[in-house]
Point group: C2
Chain length 353, copies 2
């Protein structure tokens, strides 16, 4: 029997409520395909920080290292500054495990009313490929003359050829694999003087390795506008850490799926575990009520399965989600206009598989 | 008779086609209000660059300095890299003349079908206040090991307390003046380690000077999604140079007004001239055809008048634009679904005033 070790980190807030539904689905898949998933639970969170002054134990990363994959809920809670909670857990995991691809779908789903008009499921269906280990998210920089009128803060983004080339190749390979030979690069080389012209150069260079792939390039400002105006024109969008972060929230915003979209933080070579997590946060406003939508977490399981090579099982999860969402008689959580609980919706999806 | 000196820089592409319509409107306003507008024309552009190797003459900024305002068309053209054309003209003007506010309306207009559903004119009506002289747009940085596998590019953003505080005060003052006591700050302090936590601190501090103003703060990723999902919740949004750039394109993208939105690059103290320009670019694809929509350039005249203190005249221009757009029998350029020329539409607006 195939066996996988999954590290489970529910994190904060609704992370704790949606995770059991994801595990329910994982178990159903395991039974269906005769695969064993062992889950090891870690309660690292802002709660841990409040108790211990650390988001995770000192050997935290080592304890995750030997798992096949990590399933994460949501991190962050009022009272703990975000840059502490995230740089103490989420971001080190991404970086130490070299999860250099952050991958997120932008897809119009049946039964979800998007804020944009005149679009049908099928019209909007693309992927954002975000660089996940360098770029604008950095601890390079500092403050001078703190607390005075002359205070200055510097923040340095760093882009390497190594890091830029590999994310671009991933995007081109994905476009090939999907049979959608079209990649759009997010840039801002008209305003950002060093890094973005370099990004453009690398994009031009790498694209020559993929002569059959059509390329586009848009400045991030107009690209964001185009996500709203003409979302159907995209297939694979490749972007730096910050731009990818923006685009992969904006995309699900346009399709009305921000509460249900998943993401993968992927180490494509499989040298380290990859992390799968919903796009949404810990949602302190509804935490504890049992009404959070579990689909983002469940869809993350779908991406996890796909990453482990269980392609059919991964597709099953997505199909079950689409089936339940498209069925007007199926349970719906309040964010989808219904009155169902997290558990009701999780069970319905598990049954559909 | 009141008299103003306006420096006119049509720039590249359709800049040359929309500018005459803006000047037509300016003349009509002059006649109506008994004000004289002298225009001095400067043909600085990518054409100039191709001929002289510079976007403007060495004493270019000095030649602009004594004007009351600058009316700019669009800068940039294929064949001249953007970071050259812009850092050679647009960006030095913004910086040397300390135009530290970039101000852009996001407004749903009559007669314009937005990509978002279920919104009426009046529902979406807010301003983006963008820091325009520092932040992420900088020439601080460089390349190392160029051309090798070990190539690294650093790009440093700089934020000063001086620059941050003044843009925030401008936003709060604007909220007060508009009678919309609500300011939203764009941040990313969960991912960007030094600059954005600093930005948040300054926002918290400055907001205390305006106890009657309600404040919100969103990370740029979810903020972009909210521009699409709930644009009606915004009144004044304050943002860094890059985030403001993104938001002030995305906003008009949401309202379907990217071809008609104006922007002001403002030195609020009036020590230097301010620049007014449409949001759109030089549009090489339709340049020379006489079909570009002149409304962005004309609305820029409205903002210019307002900045000069000719508030009523400025409001006249906006009213005339709304009137023509709302009139189904009035001329419309192809981007608005009609067959009118740039001149037809310009004349119709001039007549409406
Ligand atoms: C052309 C470019 C440098 C400019 C900017 O990003 O500032 C433009 O997008 C704008 O918003 O005025
Ligand atoms: C929480 C935050 C640091 C994170 C990011 O910006 O990377 C989140 O927005 C995401 O996209 O996963």
């Amino acid at each position: 029997m195939q066996q996988y070790e999954i590290a489970v980190l529910p994190g904060d807030g609704i992370g704790n409520e949606v995770m059991p539904e994801a595990l329910r689905v994982l178990d159903v898949i395991g039974a269906k395909y005769g695969v064993r998933f062992d889950h090891c639970h870690f309660d690292w969170s802002c709660e841990t920080y409040r108790k211990t002054g650390r988001m995770m134990p000192e050997d935290g990363l080592d304890r995750l290292r030997d798992h096949h994959s990590i399933l994460l809920g949501a991190v962050g809670y009022p009272g703990v500054p975000d840059h502490i909670s995230l740089w103490g857990l989420l971001i080190p995991i991404r970086r130490v495990f070299d999860q250099y691809v952050n991958l997120r779908p932008v897809r119009l789903l049946p039964g979800v009313t998007p804020p944009v008009r005149d679009k049908q499921p099928g019209d909007i269906d693309f992927w954002v490929v975000r660089e996940n280990t360098e770029g604008e998210y950095s601890k390079l920089g500092g403050r001078q003359n703190e607390g005075t009128d002359r205070e200055t803060v510097l923040q340095t983004a760093s882009f390497t050829r190594f890091g830029t080339d590999r994310i671009m190749r991933y995007a081109f390979d994905l476009a090939r694999k999907l049979g959608k030979p079209h990649v759009t690069s997010a840039t801002k080389s008209n305003g950002i003087y060093y890094s973005m012209p370099f990004w453009d150069e690398r994009f031009a260079e790498i694209s020559q390795e993929y002569p059959e792939v059509r390329v586009d390039q848009d400045h991030i400002d107009i690209l964001c506008a185009r996500f709203v105006m003409t979302p159907e024109r995209f297939d694979v969008v490749v972007a730096s850490n910050l731009f990818g972060d923006i685009l992969s929230d904006l995309g699900p915003g346009v399709t009305g799926t921000i509460g249900v979209a998943p993401s993968g933080n992927i180490n494509p070579e499989g040298r380290y575990p990859s992390t799968f997590e919903p796009v949404h946060g810990s949602a302190p406003d509804i935490a504890g009520k049992g009404i959070a939508n579990p689909i983002g977490q469940i869809w993350s399981v779908g991406m996890l399965l796909d990453h482990l090579g269980l392609t059919e099982a991964g597709a099953d999860v997505v199909t079950a989600i689409e089936q339940v969402l498209g069925d007007p008689t199926a349970p719906r959580t309040p964010d989808l206009g219904g009155t169902a609980t997290t558990e009701d919706l999780g069970k319905a999806i598990a049954e559909a598989i």
